[in-house]
Amino acid sequence: MSANDSPLWEFVNISKAYPGVLANDKVCIKLMPGSIHGLLGENGCGKSTMIKTLSGVQQPDSGQILHKGKEVRIADPDDARRRGVATVFQEFSIVPTLSVGENIFLGNMPRNRLGLIDWKTVNDASARVLKKLDIELSPETITGSLSVGEQQLVEIAKAVAMDAEMVILDEPTAALGEHEIEQLHVLLRKMRAQGTSILYVSHRLDEVERIVDEVTILRSGKVVRESGETEINVSEIVAAMVGEDVSEHYPKENNSVDDVVFECQNLRTRFGVNGASFDLRKGEVLGLGGVLGSGRTEIAHAIFGVDKLTDGALLLNGKKIEIKNEMQAINAGFALVPENRKYDGLFFNFRASGNITAAALPRIARRGFLDLAAEAKGTERLMNELEISPQAEKKTVNFLSGGNQQKVVIARWLFSEANILIFDEPTQGIDIGAKIAVYKLMNALTRAGKSIILISSDHDELLAMSDRIAVVQHGHINRVVGAGELSHDDLVRASSYGDAGDARPAAAAARIQTNSNESLAAEAIQ
C-alpha cells in the first residue's frame, strides 16, 4: 500500500507529563504515507496527548519529532497546518454561530484581489468537500443548528478541505451512525490511495478493524503494541489494550419477563416524534434502532418531559400518567442518561457525590437541608458497586476518564432508584473495558426487575444487548422484533436512510447549542 518505506512523521521517545500523570512515556510511532494508522487504548492512556503534540497544541517534555526524516519543532497549531497536518480534535473546535462553509475554511479563508473574503470560493469549495463526504448540508447553514453528528461531519470536512498530507482524526465516529461511518471510510480509502497518511482514533473496534492498515496500542502512556506486528483483529487488540483476555464483549443476560410495565401510545411532539407506539416489559432491554436523525433521542425526550407531547399517551403499569417536565418524569421513576454526557450530563464543578445525588436531592434533604452523611454513604456504596475510581471523590469529575464519567452519570439514576432507564448512546467514547462494565450494569439492573430503553448507533451493541428492537424511522416505530430475529444488515435496511431528512431539521433546531449558559438553560427548558 505505502508508496515508499520512509515514514512521513515519526515520534522518537516522546514524553509528556501533566501534573500528576505521565501521559506519554517514551512513545515511538512511525506514520507512513498512504496508510491508515489506528491509535488505540483505554480512556486516559494518552492518545489525545500524542495528537496534541503532533498538532502543535503543546510541546513534548522530551523526545524528537521527525518530518520526512528531519528533526523539527512544531511551534503551534498554525505551524502544524503549514507542515501539512490537519487535525479533527476530540473536543469540538467548530464555531456554532458561523456557517458550515465559514467553519470549513476557518483560519484559512480564501480572499479575492481586494483582500476581502471570497464568498463564492468559500461556498463552492465547501459544497465540493461536503459532496465528497456525501453530506447533504448547505454551506450556508449555521453550524450551531445542526445535530451533534452533523457537527462532527463538518469537523471532518474542515480537515479534508485542507488537502493535508497528514490527517489526524481523534474519535471522529463517536457521534456518527453506521451510514456516516461508511461514508467516512470510503473517503479515507480514497485519501489513502492518493498517498495521504491518516492517524485514526476510535473506541469502536469493529469499525477500526475494517479501516486501519496498522495499529499502535497505548497503555498508561506507553506503547504496548507497535505497528505491523501481527494481523489486526479485535480480540487481540482488546487483549493488548486491557492487558488481559476478554472472552465476551457482550455479556448479555435475558431477564425480560412478560409483564408490560410501560407503554407509549401514538406519541407526537413538535420536535420530530410522529406517532411512536411501543411497550416495555419488566426486566427488558428494548433497543431503539435507526439512523442518525430518525428521532430516537426525540422519543426519549418526549417520554422524559423534555419536549411537550402534542398527542398520545404514556401508560405506567397500565395507568395513564401525565409527564409535563423532567421533575415529574423522575418522580414517576424514569431516568435519562443523555446522549452527550459532557453537555447534558455532568456537573464538572462537582465531585462524584454531587453528580450522583443531583437527581434525587429531595431524598437526602430534611426540611431543605442536606443530610451530607447519607449522601456520602450512598455515594460510596454506588462507587464501590460500579467500581468508579476513588479519584472521583477527591477531585471534580472533569479529571476522570470517559468511562468513569459515564459510570457517574449512570450511578445518578441508581441513586434515584429509577425503574425505567433510558440510555441514550451510553457507551459513546468510552473504552472497551468501560463498555463491558456498562453492559454488566445493564444486566444487574434488569435482573433487579428494572427496564431499559437503549438507544445506540453501534448496531452490534444494540443487537447484542437488546431483548427486542424497535425500528425507528421519521420519529415513528415501524416494527418491534426480537433482537435474535434481526441481523446487522436487516437493521440497516429496516431503518434505511432514504429521506430521513424530514424528521431531522426540526429535531436539530430544537437542540441549538449556544455558548451562553443562560440561553442554554432557557433553550433546554422550553
Binding site: M327, A329, P338, F347, N349, A376, L520
Partner: protein, 326 residues
Amino acid sequence: MRRVFDSQLIGPFAAMLIVALIVALTTDRFLDPGNLSNLSLQVSIVALIAIGSSIVIFAAGIDLSAGSMVALLTMIFAQMLKFAGIPIFVALPAILLVGALLGFGLGIITAYGRIPSFITTLAALIAFRGLALTFNNGSPIFSLDPALETVFYGRLFGLPLPFFYLVFFYAMAAIVMNFSKLGREIYAVGGNPAAAVLTGINVKKVQAITFAIAGFMTAVGAILMSARLNSGSPNYGQTLELQAIAAAVVGGASLAGGRGNVLATLMGAMTIVIVQNGLNLNAAPSSVQNVVLGLIILLAVGIDMWRAEISRFLSRLRGGATKSAR
C-alpha cells in the same frame, strides 16, 4: 462534598494577609484600633451586598443593579420615615421586603423572559437610579430618625454592630450554600444548566431565587447606608455593584458560574477595602484608588486563569534549582 472551609479559601485569605501586611508596613496608623474598627464599618456595606452578588454569580448570572437599588431603597426608606410617618420597626422589614421583591422581579424577567441577566440588571441599573430621583424632587432627604444611627454606629460588647451583621449574614449564607438543597441547586444550575434541567432541578425558579436573595442583601446594605448618614439620596451607591462583583471575583468566584465560596467573597471584600484604606492613609487621591481597584480585579482573574502556567513556572524554577545544585 463541599466543605465550608475548603482549599478555595486559602488563596483569598493569603491575598488578604499579604495586602494587610504591605499596608501595615507603609503606615503605622493601619493597626490603630480606631482604624481597624473604622475598617469593619467601611467593609460592611459592600461585603453584605457582595453576598447576593456572589450567589447570583454562582448560578452563572450577574447583578449590576445593586448600586442603583441602594439609592432607590434609601429614598423609599427616607420617604417612609420622614414624610409618611411610618415607624422605624415597620419601615425596616418593609425595605427588606421591597428589596427582595425588586430582585425577584429582575430574576423572573431574566429566567422566564429569557433575557440575559447582564441586560436585565443593566436596564435596572439605569432605571432604578431614575426612579430614585422621582422621590422628593430628586433631592436627598436628611435627618431621618435619631434611632436609625444606632443601627450603624451602635456597639455590642465593645464591637460595632455591623461586625455582628457580617458574622450573622455570612454564617447564614455559608450554611445555605454548603448544606441546603437550595445551595446545591444553585451550584448545579451555575455548573451546567442543561444537565440541571435533565436532573429535574427547576432551573428558572432557582435563578429567580438567587436574584431575590441579591435584592434582599442589597436592601440590608441600603439600610446601613441610610443609617450611616441618617439620610437617603439618589446619589448613594454609585459603583457599589462593581465593588461587590469585584469582591466575589477576588474571592475566586468564576463568572462562568458553578464555582466559588461565599466566605472567600468576604476575604475579597476585605482585601479591596484594606487596599483602599491603605491608599487613604497614605493620602493617595481617589482617582488612584479606582485605578488600583481595576488592577486588583485584573490580577485576581489573571491568577485564576494562569494557574496552570504559574504552577509550571514554579515547578521549572524548582527543577532548575535542583539541577544547578547538583
